[in-house]
Subunit: 390 residues, 2 copies
């Protein structure tokens, strides 16, 4: 997702938070993944925000997108220049009010931000897994999150919230563990990855695998496939924006130049922006994790996996109350996909609210400051919290 | 553009055609390009279809897109398995009827299909230009085409026709040489490349330049940057299609498999399609030409170049009659861009017809069989031909 959000250090924040780790699936208890492969031990990095109520009835499970992590809000220390990725939404008095709710966010299985993934050391070999890491699914990610919640002694999730790939996890939670989820907010997401979304992911993966430094995924002791990963990230960034948002944000404005360079420098601001995003991303993200997480998204098909090909079938066991949100200019998971999801939910008699937010910022809109979204989330949480205690 | 068009060998064709060459700008007559750089000698490969009338009043100038060539229709020999790129439109009795019109199509400057480009030998060094080839513009391409028409003794173009980057050349012709162009059909194009279109081109260029075999553009005596060029082509193919067309064409159908591979093979048909398109493209196209032609498209800004920032200003000297065509699902050059073009043309009092064709195939639609498009083109040509002789 984009990182051009303006952060205001003076805004009320959840304050200093600490990354924690939970390890499970050790030895004979290794996870059997959807593919049939086994994986263990598994570590999940997680952070919590706010306080768990005595009745444990105020848990919000936050689920992050492709390149996110457990650090959803707050700062790691007093001089930390940048807060967590959804600090605009999570904090005292915010859309997800940490004065009222206990928020848990864990880094997804397969990532590289503290949880077990392809860059982790395989205890069997003492070397990073690389491509010997098994392909994981959205279902596997959610099962690992359930192990974490069991460990924390949390039975009920008041609300599962997430956008994009985080939204897929939200849906998977509702369908896989219907007794555990009171309500859910899937944002800017889909029940099944479209051909277009698969196409973008595949080209991004090909860009990584075309980099000779990728070396079949075995690069941790040498030079990393930085060029390939940067191109992959640039492709991603195009999909996170929209025609309209690029026109507004960049247009045909030139980068520090009175006229064209007549060479292959970045003439236009949009070129410069993409190059910068690519370069910055490779400093913090693992190329193999990019491959694994995008593959999990491509495999995501709630209808096939849980409904025999039908979305109505998939939602038939679900009991959660839903707030589904899409954004007008999101071309990665367009509104028609959210509408189809909502129709299927309604057909099964579920309590569903749906809102298409008019936003110019494309798929990225769910991460950007948006008063309407904050108010929607806040109101929905208040209602379900009240109803759950009635 | 896509190459999944079904060709019918039995359909009426213009028959066997021959590629010809025209060389100019030799020695002191070298072209002074828009950048100020000089280039010479310049060769254009071209083909003609049909017969030039005695009055030379039946000339159609066809202008091809990014990866096209002079071979717009017909076959090179009796066993040639595949006709030219617009054989569905150009031939006896077709939309552009070679029984009535004399069609000229030349490979653009900067390409690698017979015309001078970065893979051509620089006479000064005896080695391929590579990145010492000067950056050329759409205007430079059109000026080279004008030299060819002068050489052929053709004063008036009855109609300039082209889509995408070919459409940009159509517009440039009308504005740069208003006395020479009687009518014009710009298809699926724009007067100025949008930030989104620039973004896609830039990421594709970065994919090429990230390939170590690209070697600063100097690869003609070694291994070519095939991986980078394949990724660039895959990015292009996504932009040529659309969400709807991918859903119809591929959906989530798997490639020769009962279930997921749980590895990084091409699981989905859309992945397999993109990989195939990438692989096939590198056999026939030069990576440096891809860089140069996309850069020319990005620089294209008729309003800035010819109208002091105004489209109305740019079209003020034009005299051509226009048929402007856009396609509903084209997300690279969406209809609103054609509408803006048409409004500017109308404001200057030009004779303009505009049609938005309902088509699911995205930007590619202009190259695919479409009876409505053929009928539109045919009718428009008949009218302007008749009026030009009245």
């Amino acid at each position: 997702m984009s990182e051009y959000i303006q952060h205001d250090r003076k805004s009320v924040s959840v304050g200093v938070v600490r990354k924690q780790y939970f390890t499970f699936a050790e030895g004979p208890k290794a996870m059997v993944l959807e593919s049939g492969a086994t994986l263990g031990p598994v570590t999940l990095a997680f952070e919590t925000f706010g306080r768990l109520s005595e009745k444990k009835d105020n848990v919000i499970l936050l689920l992050h997108a492709l390149s996110g992590d457990s650090h959803a809000a707050g700062y790691y220390h007093a001089e930390d220049p940048k807060p967590g990725w959804w600090d605009i939404m999570v904090g005292p008095g915010k859309g997800i009010d940490t004065n009222r709710y206990f928020v848990i966010c864990s880094n997804i299985l397969g990532s590289c931000m503290g949880s077990t993934g392809p860059s982790s050391v395989d205890p069997k070999t003492g070397r990073p897994y690389g491509l010997t890491f098994p392909v994981v699914t959205i279902g596997d990610m959610v099962r690992a999150q359930k192990a974490l919640l069991d460990h924390l002694g949390i039975e009920k999730i008041l609300c599962a919230v997430g956008g994009s790939i985080g939204g897929m996890q939200v849906l998977e939670w509702c369908v896989r563990y219907p007794e555990r989820v009171v309500s859910a907010i899937p944002l800017a997401t889909t029940t099944r990855h479209s051909a277009l979304a698969i196409a973008f992911n595949e080209v991004a993966r090909q860009a990584i695998m075309a980099d000779p430094n990728w070396n079949g995924g075995d690069y941790y002791s040498g030079t990393k496939p930085l060029h390939g990963l940067a191109v992959a990230r640039m492709i991603g960034h195009i999909t996170y924006l929209s025609d309209a948002s690029m026109r507004l944000k960049f247009g045909r404005r030139l980068q520090n130049k009175a006229d064209f360079s007549f060479n292959f420098d970045a003439d236009f601001q949009v070129e410069s922006y993409l190059r910068y995003q690519g370069t910055k991303f490779v400093e913090r993200f693992d190329a193999n994790s990019f491959l694994y997480i995008t593959k999990a998204a491509d495999y995501f098909d709630l209808e096939k996996q849980h409904g025999g090909g039908s979305a109505v079938g998939a939602f038939s066991k679900t009991k959660a109350k839903f707030l589904v949100v899409s954004f007008t200019s999101d071309w990665l998971y367009p509104t028609y996909q959210s509408r189809a999801m909502v129709q299927a939910m309604k057909k099964t008699g579920l309590d569903v609210s749906f809102c298409e937010i008019d936003a110019q910022w494309g798929h990225d809109a769910f991460l950007l400051p948006n008063e309407r979204l904050s108010a929607l989330v806040k109101g929905f949480l208040e209602r379900v919290h009240q109803e759950s205690r009635a």
